[in-house]
């Protein structure tokens, strides 16, 4: 009898399993103390849904996956979507590599399915819809700032479409990220900001920081290692760096409350896993963490094996007797060396005057003995006219010939320049890429409201497989912390890194904007003067006048008149 009951039970369970599409939600926070005394907090929220948006079947019943994004995926036949909003610039040399790199401003790149016929109009509509969802000015993305990179942005999920006709990439370096972008981003989370790690996301603290970056990544991925069925992954990430001096008043002491003005009391009840990782690789020489946790975890991330203390929020014991978790990190000494990032990029504009200039891009390879290739992507607006014949690539004073160059020249007011090249970086070297440009004159309605501020040029993107010191994990379906599983790893000996350089701010020749009225007045005056004299010449009749009699003669005549004598 009991066995029968169990059997029924199992049957019911199986039925439920089969009927409901399975979805799963995980949340995670990584805290990494930085050597500069700043602190880096990286949130990741992942929703995985065993469904298929691709085969044209209509997906319309949502549980954990947000409905608005699901509708976007099915309506626009999106295969992969990556969008990020960033305030501030990630200082690679001080902070090391971030878990999810992002350029300042807004970045959007989308792979469409190969069933899309008119990619450009779909892209235009998609950016407009996304701009509504995220309250951002993504509607300013048009053909003049969209490119189709041929090699730099490969799909991160599964999918054998590598035809870059279905890829669109655009950045808005000027986009200012603020609360109104954070609120819709938080709304996409199943628990909102009511429970779990998301209660820490208070905008007054998050935006009082040196770096803030929030992103949404959607991609299809394998359910298991055999990859027979696909599921869709929505990854929402938020990275923030709190400054030692402005946020901590210079004290090397951090706590959750100090960073976010909140403590944690519970995990999101919908999350299957809810964890906090603290990078303690340098502990105990440098800092101490309290409360201490017996759980430790090791992960190879960004070419380095790191040790983390793990706090599992789904366990009641984590919160202790006070039923609230307030992690405290205290530095003991300020010494210590950071593992220098192996790849780094910089960019600046050189030259003087308002006619020509030169863009310099520097790529640093700090690896002591290995050289590796990098892909450099540059998208430059049309109003900087690149002279591609002046392109030079030099490393260690010698000419370094790129093995692959993809250059698409700009068209005025239609599309930007796209320059992609594959460069081999020699070990321990700086490679400099320079190209000259000429500034174009804009029409007076094309200037921004504050044209004297200058015009932004988006960051260069340097993507590379960097040789790893430790063996990387290549199994993409194995249970791993979220922060280490974002970029898929194909081989053990290297890991993927994407580095963004600074955006450029370029001054263009700016006219005086009261000019049109002045021009109208001036031309009218000129026309009037020219026309007036011409008219006079044509219509007046000219006669030779008798020369005036002299003064003496006139006086004499007056006298003669008085005398009654005829005048002279």
């Amino acid at each position: 009898m009991a066995g029968q009951k169990l059997c029924v039970c199992v049957c019911v369970c199986v039925c439920v399993w089969a009927v409901c599409p399975k979805d799963d939600f995980q949340e995670e926070l990584v805290i990494r103390p930085l050597h500069s005394g700043d602190i880096y907090a990286s949130f990741q929220f992942r929703t995985v849904w065993e469904t298929d948006f691709t085969r044209g079947n209509k997906v319309s019943h949502y549980r954990l996956f947000p409905k608005s994004l699901g509708q976007v995926i099915s309506k626009f036949s999106v295969r992969e979507l990556h969008i990020s909003f960033t305030q501030g610039y990630w200082r690679t040399m001080q902070w090391g590599q971030p878990f999810q790199p992002a350029p300042p401003g807004a970045e959007l790149w989308v792979w469409f399915q190969d069933s899309v016929t008119d990619v450009d109009s779909t892209w235009k509509e998609l950016t407009n819809v996304l701009s509504g969802i995220f309250c951002a000015s993504l509607n300013f993305i048009d053909s003049t700032n969209t490119v189709q990179p041929s090699a730099s942005f490969k799909p991160l999920g599964i999918g054998n479409v590598t035809d870059h006709r279905f890829l669109r990439y655009a950045t808005l370096p000027r986009e200012i990220v603020c609360t109104e972008n954070l609120t819709p981003w938080k709304k996409l989370l199943p628990c909102g900001s009511k429970a779990g790690l998301a209660v820490l996301l208070k905008s007054e603290k998050l935006f009082h920081s040196s770096f803030h970056s929030q992103a949404v990544h959607i991609r299809p991925m394998c359910q298991d290692w055999e990859c027979k069925t696909t599921s869709w992954e929505l990854r929402q990430t938020l990275n923030v760096v709190f400054d030692l001096h402005t946020s901590a008043q210079g004290k090397r002491e951090w706590s959750l409350f100090k960073m976010f003005s909140r403590t944690l009391t519970e995990a999101c009840p919908l999350a299957s896993s809810s964890k906090i990782y603290i990078d303690i690789t340098d502990n105990p020489e440098q800092f101490e963490v309290s409360p201490a946790t017996p759980l430790l975890s090791q992960a190879s991330v960004l070419g380095d094996r790191r040790t983390f203390s793990v706090y599992d929020l789904t366990q009641q014991i984590t919160f202790g007797t006070v039923r609230s978790l307030n992690l405290l990190i205290r530095w003991k000494s300020s010494e210590g060396d950071m593992l220098r990032p192996l790849l780094h990029g910089e960019r600046y504009v050189a030259g003087y005057g308002l006619q020509t200039g030169e863009i310099h891009t520097l790529m640093y390879n700090y690896h002591p003995y290995r050289s590796f290739p990098v892909l450099l992507l540059d998208s430059v607006p049309w109003y900087l006219r690149l002279y591609i014949h002046t392109l030079t690539v030099t490393s260690k004073g010698k000419d370094n010939k790129p093995s692959y160059i993809h250059y698409q020249p700009s068209k005025d007011r239609v599309r930007p320049h796209l320059l992609e090249m594959l460069v081999q970086l020699p070990p321990n070297s700086v490679t400099e890429v320079t190209v000259q440009f000429e500034r174009a004159l804009l029409k007076w309605t094309e200037y921004t409201p504050d044209p004297n501020h200058g015009f932004y040029v988006g960051s260069s993107v340097i993507s590379s497989l960097v040789p790893s010191i430790v063996a990387m994990d290549t199994n993409s379906t194995r249970e791993r912390p979220l922060f280490s599983s974002f970029f898929p790893c194909k081989e053990e000996s290297s890991y993927f890194v994407r580095v963004y350089t600074e955006p450029l701010l370029v001054n263009l020749p700016t006219p005086d904007f009261s000019m049109p009225y002045n021009v109208i007045c001036l031309t009218c005056t000129v026309v009037a003067v020219g026309y007036g004299s011409l008219y006079n010449l044509l219509t007046r009749s000219f006669q030779i006048e008798e020369p005036n009699p002299g003064l003496a003669k006139r006086i004499a005549n007056v006298i003669r008149k008085m005398r009654g004598v005829p005048p002279l």
């Binding site: 309506k75 909102g192 009511k194």
Partner: protein, 565 residues
């Protein structure tokens, strides 16, 4: 003398030069300036739009009145007129007039119909009559049955079936033996009453015209009725949301996919000619209502009063999210499961009585149902509790609300009428017809208002550029409107609705075209400020020299006169 003549010649040359410059300016300069500063305005069918502004709608309904055996005598049978057309005219306001044309055809029942009418119950008779012949959309068949017939209960005179048929019991006072004219004149108002229930009534149609005609404030009830339903639109998005404010205690499971297939889809399939529908559902956690329910200790339950229901929606709506994929109106249906500490929750009506369905709807927005789950578990249950939601109960409420919001009328029938219960599809054929009549009229009214106001606007602001595509949209809207009106007149309901939908789409597209907005409109004073520096220095010398020529000519004439004298 010679010198004088030369001076005259030079004078004449100057005058000729001035005149020719003036001629060049007027003949070439002014047209050139006019052409280059002109705005492009494509041709619009203005006269046809003005005709539409004065809307004369005619609605024609076909009625077939079938006499069963025992209602007319054989002599009368021969004299039964074949058709009878009746017109009913109403003037709604100065530019809108309505005319209803009822085309009644009389005949006697066939043998098969007689057999069908001999079924034991009205519902069975209705079904078998339907299988005999299918009447087209918008038409009706009224079977007149003898008073002695046992099909209808004692207190019922008219049975309204699920399709387009009605059974009408001949009254006691019109016994066989009276003249045919008397019989017909007695039947006529009763057939009309059936028509008003089953196809259209004047109140419905005037309510559908509300976009065009400002209704005189009638009774409150009818205004509330007319404002409840959504405006006609080519598509609707239906969103079901499960609100779970307490995921820590309740783990809710709802089989929304199955429920939609079973309960909602049959209705929507029926309504497919009316509009496109798309359905989706979502689950929202930690979604709270905007008001705090009051604890009623006498019932040991929380209550929401009817006057606080208005504040419930706004905070929830922020979480619902708008539809990213289309701009059609959204019908929201929310299922709210109160959290464990605030259950059970009941909605009270105006009389402080519990609402049995525990649900309410908001006009032109959607419906909310409160679903209490506290009976599913005991006080010592381990949280979170898994709860399966009874979808039949939920969908019954939502379906009723959906019918109301889509404008499927369910007002009480007149006395002595019996309306057949709803079929599995949730809507009877005649209810659909009724909806199609009023939706066609509403679409026509909306499209004509849009088109006439667009034409008026373009007429008033001369600076707006009218592109070819706008002109094309306007013309296609006008053509569709004319076709829709014509189809209504000839009684082809399905085509009328189709054309009216096309008209509304084209007119909205023309009206909201961005090219009508983005031009800069320079006011006249600014234009003059720009043109005066150019025109004034040019015109002043020309005008002065013209004046001089005129005054010279006058002087010469006077001199000539003086000489002649």
């Amino acid at each position: 003398m010679y010198v004088h003549k030369a001076g005259l010649q030079i004078d004449l040359r100057g005058q000729l030069a001035a005149l020719s410059i003036a001629a060049v300016v007027i003949l070439i300069g002014v047209p050139l300036w006019w052409r280059t500063t002109e705005t492009y305005r494509a041709w619009l069918p203005v006269s046809q739009i003005q005709e539409l502004a004065n809307l004369q709608l005619q609605l024609s309904a076909d009625v077939e009145v079938v006499f069963a055996r025992g209602t007319v005598t054989p002599e009368q049978q021969k004299k039964v007129p074949l058709t009878l057309t009746q017109d009913d005219e109403h003037v709604v306001d100065e530019d809108t007039a309505l005319r209803y044309r009822y085309e009644t055809r009389y005949r006697t029942a066939t043998i098969m119909e007689e057999d069908a009418l001999n079924q034991p119950t009205a519902a069975e008779a209705d079904l078998s009559l339907h299988t005999l012949s299918e009447s087209p959309c918008g038409s009706l068949v009224v079977y007149v049955i003898p008073e002695s017939s046992s099909l209808l209960p004692e207190d019922v005179d008219v049975y309204v079936g699920q399709r387009r048929t009605a059974l009408l019991r001949i009254g006691a006072q019109t016994r066989v033996g009276r003249t045919l004219e008397q019989l017909l004149s007695h039947l006529e108002p009763r057939v009309k009453q059936v028509l008003q229930v089953m196809s259209f009534s004047h109140t419905d149609i005037t309510a559908a015209l509300s976009d065009r005609v400002r209704l005189s404030p009638g009774n409150k009830e009818s205004i509330a009725d007319s404002m409840r339903a959504f405006k006609s639109s080519p598509g609707y998005e239906i969103t079901f949301s499960l609100l779970n404010p307490d995921p820590k205690s309740h783990r809710l499971h709802w089989d929304i996919e199955g429920a939609v297939q079973t309960y909602i889809q049959p209705l929507l399939r029926k309504l497919a000619p009316l509009a496109n529908f798309s359905i989706d559902s979502q689950t929202l956690y930690y979604a709270m209502l905007g008001v705090n329910p009051r604890f009623d200790s006498s019932r040991s339950a929380y209550t929401l009063n009817s006057d606080s229901l208005a504040h419930v929606i706004n905070p929830v709506e922020a979480r619902l999210g708008s539809n990213a994929a289309s701009s059609n109106p959204v019908l929201n249906f929310l299922l709210y499961v109160p959290d464990a500490h605030h259950s059970p929750l009941h909605i009270n009506d105006h009389k402080k009585q519990e609402v049995p369905s525990n649900a309410f709807h908001s006009p032109r927005w959607g419906g909310i149902m409160v679903y209490n789950v506290n009976d599913f578990y005991g006080p010592e249950a381990a949280f979170p509790v898994d709860i399966n939601i009874d979808m039949a109960k939920v969908m019954g409420v939502f379906l009723a609300q959906l019918r109301l919001l889509l404008g499927v009328q369910s007002s009480a029938p007149p006395p002595r009428f019996l309306v057949a219960p709803c079929s599995s599809a949730g809507i009877a054929d005649w209810e659909l017809d009724r909806l199609m009549w009023s939706r066609s009229v509403e679409n026509i009214a909306t499209a004509t208002t849009t088109i006439t106001s667009l034409a008026q606007l373009l007429d008033q602001i001369g600076n707006i550029v009218i592109n070819d595509n706008i002109a094309q949209q306007v013309s296609s809207a006008v053509t569709s409107l004319q076709l829709a009106v014509a189809e209504l007149e000839s009684g082809n309901l399905r085509f009328a609705l189709q054309y009216s939908k096309e008209a509304i789409l084209a007119s909205e597209r023309a009206f909201f075209d961005p090219s009508l907005l983005h031009l800069l409109y320079f006011p006249d004073d600014q234009k003059f400020a720009i043109y005066i520096p150019l025109f004034l220095p040019m015109c002043v010398p020309i005008l002065l020299s013209l004046l001089k020529i005129v005054s010279d000519a006058r002087q010469r004439r006077r001199e000539k006169h003086a000489k002649a004298d």
